[in-house]
Symmetry: C2
Subunit: 459 residues, 2 copies
């Protein structure tokens, strides 16, 4: 084991070189013009799996972007871990807020800055390197690994469930392992036992059939930008409660134990505000900030646009206005039901003076995984040894919709251990990965793989 | 006189050729990148004035775009008419909604489609041609004309008041004449006796100091796009009454006579809705549509933007959101006071969880001119002879802020007779001028100039 750890320690420069190359591919899955780049990233993933010592590597074409699989079967009597990750990334706009080209990774102090450095190329890459270290030093693993790395996570994995259903044998395993979440803080590792679900949609309002002169028509015709604002305003009351009828019906309220566990996780509201540059926080009354971001369902405006947005003053009454909105869900909310009632609500509050078009984007189920299992125990120990700090158990506000599918289709629980920091700016300009956490994280993965061998298959 | 009219009738092809050339210059005054084009349009205006027979042509440079003047003094004992117009135009976006290049005028049926065809190149050009017809046929005018054509009307004429103050002698006249308004309907000419004022501003909200992952932070941090929507929603109540404290304080309510006159102007709500493609209208309770657009102050969202607006789904909680808003004013509202109380109101309703920046754009005073004067009587007769229909007296929803300055600085009333149709799409894609109205309008201007000679100077 110590040979493996020291191999990892000696490989930092090589890791950075390879990571930079992986991060240089603009594999933005939501952008149809990046289709070739996404395929290039799939090929690159296959190459990284090959370097890690995988056999049976395959690039599976789907209706969307490819899924890459590979495996290292060292001892069929030992546990098999199915490692899931994704090689696609979020869009990069607003581009002018990046300090550097998002696809030309830049190292500043102890951080690497690039789109995908945290979410998720950088993190799935850590597993490639942990496996590779075993293979290069020992020629085998203490367990068995299977990899499934997809290219549509950022567009809600529309083709993965079908792939899982059709490849149960190929993907058979004892547990799924995903590194696509964050640590609690620098130096404080965490294991994530809950993820929110997601319902994402777009509302497009059309008022008059063409842009009008706001002087000649203003005051007489519904302004879709104003109506849209009124509709968004009607989605929450003054206490931050979401007003869509039925929205909270299936929410399981947390119990006193979980509430206490969350309260005990260290948190400074002042530091949080300072990091975000806000004077005051804003959230649903009756819950704490830590609860807002972990156990409460939310509604956010992701984008809004309409009318004249250029330089100067143009007196137009716009024909159209639109918004992208999303709701994060908690057990037992169902994303399809939530999308249905949200659509119904918006249709009910849209006045007849406008036409409303609803476009549904991605969705995903919320999940909470068991708080204890031998894999979690092993992960806790490995993280503690590596980071010199016992990990916290947390629920995250992000969504990895596929976790629910792994349970439903393959019958597998998921172990979620992530290594980026909360300040990693995933989905934002200057996304980054803290390199000491990255390198130590690879060591902790080596230790996890090693201790998983003592778990009996079937536990 | 009939020689002049028949000269106009024979010149249609030549007029269209020259108009197309004038319309081909993209003189968008609000766009700093179009500065050279705006100067080119000023030069082109000077050339058109020269062709019309003007002397003393000058291009006056200002802190902004140039002002062009010229005059034809035929008989100092006759009235002098100061014709005001503008050679600048509105921006053209959204460009994809134009059927043709907005700066390559296209003739479809009896309409010419191009940016500026109605507002105002096409209309000021009509005066050039009416003057030119007299000069080419008779070598002189029956009255005296002075022209002042500016390049900053679409950005609220920031340098014109100073120019008027400094050039009172150059601009001395008996009345101002502006053609930058619309007819009531095809075949139904109109004289405009009132214009709304304008207060235009931009609100920019900043929440967190960078775009956030809407899963990791959603529900805990104020979303500026949502807050902005709530602020816009708070600007009107359910009856469409503007909620800015003091907004209506100085509004002069119309009297029963004026209300009746407005009610008598022919109008079909069904045709209006059909033309705009809306199922229902929307406006301040207690007033009719014709009143909304003529005598009531209004508030409109001209543009709104924030967060992700590209293709697909990006789960971002945006750092910033912004809107361009404008209020149209009626006597005796003061645009500076209204901008002050609006800014104060928005600051009072912006929560501490966001920072609000207010940027003030253009402003202008509302005006109502006398309903009768010998010039209005002469215009009515000339319009009736030319269009075979008695003109209506109307108040328009648009703003020509300079009209108030002509009164205040030069002591002159303004005669407002416009020739575009209500369907001219000023400020919108496919802006157009109805050619039969354009040609008949030039004839009516010839007749007006002719009958103005009988008005005693000083009346």
């Amino acid at each position: 084991m110590e040979n493996i750890i020291s191999f990892v320690k000696k490989s930092h420069v090589q890791y950075l070189k390879e990571l930079k190359s992986f991060l240089s591919i603009p594999s933005i899955s939501s952008d149809p013009e990046r289709r070739i780049d996404v395929v290039n990233a799939a090929n690159h993933t296959a190459e990284l799996l090959s370097n890690a010592g995988c056999s049976d590597i395959a690039i599976h074409f789907t209706k969307g972007h490819p899924i890459v699989t590979g495996s290292i079967i060292s001892d069929p009597d030992k546990p098999t871990i199915l490692i899931y990750g994704h090689y696609d990334v979020q869009p990069v706009d607003p581009l002018d807020l990046w300090d550097h080209d998002p696809f030309d990774a830049f190292i500043k102090d102890d951080t690497i800055i690039a789109r995908g450095s945290a979410d998720d190329k950088g993190q799935v890459f850590m597993h490639f390197k942990a496996a590779e270290a075993f293979m290069k030093v020992n020629g085998k693993l203490p367990i068995n690994l299977k990899f499934i790395v997809e290219g549509e996570e950022e567009v809600a994995s529309p083709n993965l469930a079908k792939f899982l259903s059709e490849n149960k044998e190929l993907l058979s395993a004892d547990i799924v392992f995903i590194s696509d979440t964050a640590m609690w803080a620098q130096g404080q590792p965490a294991i994530t036992y809950g993820l929110k679900g997601l319902a994402y949609m777009e509302l497009e309002l059309t008022g008059p059939n063409h842009d009008l002169h706001s002087g000649e028509y203003g005051g007489a015709v519904a302004n879709p930008a104003e109506i849209l604002s009124r509709m968004i305003a009607q989605t929450k009351d003054a206490d931050g409660r979401i007003q869509i009828p039925g929205f909270y019906d299936k929410v399981i309220e947390i119990d006193a134990n979980e509430r206490e566990m969350i309260a005990n996780n260290p948190f400074s509201s002042d530091e949080y505000k300072a990091e975000l540059g806000v004077e005051e926080l804003w959230g649903e009354k009756g819950y704490t900030t830590k609860e807002h971001v972990s156990v409460r369902p939310t509604f956010e405006v992701n984008g809004i646009w309409g009318g004249f947005t250029g330089v100067g003053a143009k007196t137009v009454l716009p024909s159209k206005a639109a918004t992208k909105i999303s709701m994060r869900l908690v057990p037992d909310q169902d994303p399809n039901e939530i999308a249905d009632i949200a659509e119904k609500y918006f249709k009910s509050i849209a006045p007849k003076s406008v036409q409303l078009k609803v476009i549904r984007h991605s969705g995903g189920y919320p999940v909470v995984t068991p708080l204890s299992s031998p894999y979690i125990d092993a992960a806790k120990d490995a993280l503690e040894v590596s980071f010199n700090r016992r990990p916290l158990m947390i629920r995250a506000g992000g969504s990895i919709p596929i976790v629910a599918d792994f349970k439903k289709i393959l019958g597998l629980d998921t172990l979620l251990v992530g290594f980026c920091l909360p300040s990693c700016r995933a989905h934002s300009p200057n996304e980054n990965m803290h390199l000491p956490s990255f390198f130590t994280g690879i060591e902790s993965l080596v230790r996890m793989y090693d201790s998983f061998q003592h778990i009996s298959v079937g536990d």
